[in-house]
């Protein structure tokens, strides 16, 4: 699943933190990333 390009475009245009946090959430879901093991 690709991260929708619209999110990134919007983030670049606005630098809005909420949009950036949503972009991170989208990318996390796509990558299936996990917390770093400590």
């Amino acid at each position: 699943m690709e991260v929708p390009p619209g999110w990134l475009k919007l983030a670049h245009q606005t630098l809005d933190e909420e949009i950036l946090e949503n972009f991170l959430a989208q990318n996390l879901e796509r990558a299936g990333a996990v917390r770093e093991e400590r």
């Binding site: 983030a11 670049h12 991170l24 996390l28 917390r35 093991e37 400590r38």
Partner: protein
Amino acid sequence: MNAKQLQAKVVATGSVGRRVRHDIMKQYFEAAGYFADCAASIEDETQKAALKDKIETSQHRAYVVGAVVLAAMAMETCINGIYLDACSKNLKGLDDREMALLAKSWAFLDERHLDTLFKYMHALLLVGKRELPPGENPYQGAKNLIDLRNALTHYKPEWDDAKIHETIKKQLKGRFDVNPLAPDAYLWFPEQCLGSGCAKWAVNAAEDFVRAFCKQLGIPKRI
């Protein structure tokens, strides 16, 4: 109070607005390389004669594990430093908007303690660059290194055919020379795996990944 006394008071009570930023990444890389060389020299010496004593075996294991863990630590320190340089608007190669995107994302990334490779790939996406292909080197090497670090850091005793041993063996076997101090009958992981070949591979995997990332992001190389 005369002029001299006033000057002394100013000197004594004034504060210097100086901040020092310390980056340990290069030291981690150098220490990892040093440990890999130490492990290799023990292998050279002990191949000529039987193992002198148990201390030397322990030193060898310490050097190899140290190199692997430090190489993985260096990778994480590097990406943290890149985001923090963006926060300080001090990341050559990126424009102000790109630095702002990294800087504003750093707080979310840091508070979630996300895995190292995700932080790297997210930075590329944020500035509109292609991710490094996950199925190929240097990404694959970096992932194998972090998996090995995790297997060592959170080591769980298990039978030789159990999941962790098999996964690590599958990921790493054939990528470097095995530990010459471990007889063939010994377990592949950790005994045959943890030699200077593994230590040097770990350092190279981390360095190759960091170099490829910096090139892809468009910033000057860090190592």
